[in-house]
């Protein structure tokens, strides 16, 4: 059963299906800079040649934000005083969102960055900075720099049976202006997270920078 309290989003959520590409809410490619478009095309071409460029998650590293938010694995959200913890089944990614705090001036660059959150009415706003440039925006191949800034606007929809997340992506190196993508997560009270051990016989382990399928 899901809670009727709009601010209570504790529980298991799971995005239905899998969309490996990030596009704008209108379904368009992001507003690339010349560099952003070149790098995306490079990755798409490598895929077409059957030599996909290995990115962090293929080597069992964290997915990065926002790539993690598209992952087709369940997420458990757990709220405790001052903190929201997102336990992602995929590769055990763990996300900590410090509530009602300001972002630090210069957080260290990490795979999942530094996240703070607050409620605006019935919308949870999560702000993430401090992301390194080792991950990609999506699996298809949109790239980002370490100037990436991600803001999620999350609210309950469908009578609390789903969450809608509007994900706004700002990175002056790769995009000419901020753009927004969308993901939906369904409430899955019937699901429990399972163990995920990517490191065990990783069949996609990168070889010479190329993702292999074994």
């Amino acid at each position: 059963m899901t809670s009727s309290d709009p601010h209570d989003i504790d529980g298991v959520w799971w995005t239905p299906g899998y969309d490996r590409k990030y596009r704008t809410v209108e379904g368009e490619l992001p507003p690339f800079t010349e560099r952003g478009r070149k790098e995306w095309q490079h990755n798409v071409d490598a895929d077409k040649r059957g030599e996909p460029v290995a990115d962090a998650p293929t080597g069992c590293l964290p997915h990065g934000i926002p790539r993690l938010l598209a992952s087709p694995y369940p997420i458990q959200i757990i709220t405790t005083p001052g903190l929201m913890t997102w336990v992602h089944e995929v590769n055990r990614n763990q996300r900590f969102i410090y509530m009602d705090e300001k972002q630090p001036a210069n957080p260290p660059k990490t795979y999942l960055g530094h996240s703070v959150g607050h409620w605006e009415g019935d919308t949870l706003v999560i702000d993430t900075i401090g992301l390194n440039d080792k991950t990609r925006i999506d699996e298809e191949g949109i790239t980002h720099s370490d100037q990436l800034h991600v803001v999620e606007h999350i609210r309950k929809i469908d009578g609390g049976k789903a969450l809608e997340s509007l994900i706004t992506i700002t990175d002056p190196v790769m995009f000419t202006k901020p753009w927004t993508a969308k993901r939906i997560y369904k409430a899955r009270p019937d699901v429990r997270l399972m163990e995920y051990a990517c490191e065990e016989n990783n069949r996609n382990a990168p070889e010479d920078g190329v993702t292999k399928v074994k």
Partner: protein, 245 residues
């Protein structure tokens, strides 16, 4: 059954449920609050019993333990049975995870207690009042097993089973098999001291069940840092190929 009977049955069931919820909510207030960041005190690289003795290993397991210790001391590459699984970033498993010298964070909720481990971004989910499966009904084994928890007064008791036997019980290579069961009893012995009594049973490895002890101190000002073991195996280049232009 008539609709009316059905409706009145439903009403009485919800009254009972409401009563149970009230009891549980009241009980929850009596529980100690374990939520927060904790750090292990004097982590044991070689697991000892609560009174400081060597674990009661059967001869074959004792031989393997000695070989692993020797392999570790030599620093040479060896076969899988003697290679530290955590060194290739596999999950530490239970009970080894309890002695990893990195912060842990407990998230306590009425129906579930979750322990987040900074080390290699691991976590364990304990479901309160889950039934413990019988021997013929066990889930498939994995690194951290399956954990059912219950409150015994002010102690949180966690039963873990279905462990896969691939992990070491300590940094030195203490072995175990798939029949290992672990019972952890989490108790606050002071407001900021968490004591865990661990009972280990594995008839294939040990001559008798035995206990060990782990102590944690609350760390109100400590926050998790990202710990990414897999970087040791493959250091990814930038996700941006930097083609120029």
């Amino acid at each position: 059954m008539s609709m009316r009977t059905r409706a009145s049955l439903a009403a009485s069931v919800s009254a009972v449920v409401a009563g149970l919820v009230a009891v549980q909510a009241g009980a929850a207030d009596d529980k100690p609050n374990l939520t927060g960041v904790w750090l292990v005190q004097k982590p044991q690289a070689e697991l000892k019993t609560s009174d400081g003795k060597a674990p009661p290993l059967k001869p074959e397991a004792a031989k393997l333990y000695a070989e692993r210790k020797a392999a570790r001391a030599s620093g040479k590459k060896t076969d899988e049975a003697h290679t530290d699984p955590a060194a290739i970033c596999l999950p530490h498993g239970v009970p080894r995870l309890l002695n990893v010298a990195q912060p842990i964070m407990i998230l306590q909720k009425p129906k579930q207690v979750t322990v987040m481990y900074q080390a290699n971004h691991q976590s364990r989910l304990f479901y309160i009042d889950d039934p413990i499966p019988t021997a013929d009904n066990l889930p498939d084994p994995n690194y951290d097993g399956f954990s059912a928890a219950k409150w015994d007064g002010k102690a949180l008791v966690v039963n873990t089973f279905s462990l896969n036997g691939l992990t070491w019980m300590d940094d030195s290579g203490l072995p175990h098999g798939e029949k290992l069961t672990v019972v952890e009893r989490y108790e606050l012995t002071a407001p900021d001291t968490l004591s865990v009594k661990v009972t280990l049973t594995d008839p294939e490895t040990f001559t008798a069940p035995w206990n060990t002890q782990v102590t944690y101190k609350r760390q109100p000002n400590l926050r998790f840092k990202e710990d990414v073991c897999a970087e040791k195996l493959w250091h990814p280049p930038s996700g941006s190929p930097k083609l120029g232009g």
